[in-house]
Subunit: 106 residues, 2 copies
DNA sequence: ATTCATTATCGTAAAATTACGATAAATTTA
DNA sequence: TAAATTTATCGTAATTTTACGATAATGAAT
């Protein structure tokens, strides 16, 4: 059907789009500071309403970068290392390739 | 002024947003295959109109990931390794941090 | 059984993104 | 000088994103 772009191109774009908002970067960074799976108080960390934070969490969850587990009335969000590793292995080759490039336009 | 997010959070978000479209990923990958600074024919590589490609190039140039140099009636676009390196040094610590994490929600 | 706390979803408005054709601007070529 | 080539910008429409308050849904505690 949609063979305009490669699967990798679409995957990279989707993952980058998921991180393409300061609030979602902040969420990821916050989750990385938590040794246990403390969640919910993400709302207190951000200058946004509860419903907006919920939307951002949904965007991160949609691509799998984070994971949500219901525990009672609360939901525990955490980083999903598997998808981050996939992301890393798609973007790192680009970083490496770029390093071999000279800045050809002076 | 805007102290809601750190400069790093905003920078990461802006850079990711610039890559958050399959066409722009394709442009970057195409530029990486060119040893010389061949440009312009990027339009032929993509299933998009000339004006749309120009818009995508503008988005990448805006954050500095690529660079455009006028040479006659043509414009030469190329990767800017400096900004890519900055991007790498902001996102790599996150990859590294993630690797130390277990998938706490089973 | 009610109330409280937590989170997702709905409805909605404003802003941004994406795409195109048409056109302008700049330079080369004839 | 005139015509052709290349690229950016303008105008515009459709879609998506972002944000909020209100509300629903779930489970805990009283």
């Amino acid at each position: 059907m949609n063979d305009s772009y490669t699967r990798t191109q679409v995957n990279i774009a989707d993952l980058c789009k998921a991180i393409a908002h300061p609030a979602r970067v902040a969420i990821v960074q916050y989750l990385l500071t938590q040794s246990a799976c403390v969640c919910g108080d993400i709302v207190d960390e951000l200058p946004l309403s509860q419903s907006t934070v919920s939307q951002h969490l949904k965007a991160l969850k949609k691509v799998g970068l984070i994971q949500g587990t219901v525990s009672g009335p609360k939901v525990c969000y955490c980083i999903n290392p598997v998808v981050w590793d996939e992301f890393s292995s798609m973007i790192t080759p680009i970083f490496n390739e770029v390093e071999t490039k000279l800045n050809c336009c002076q």
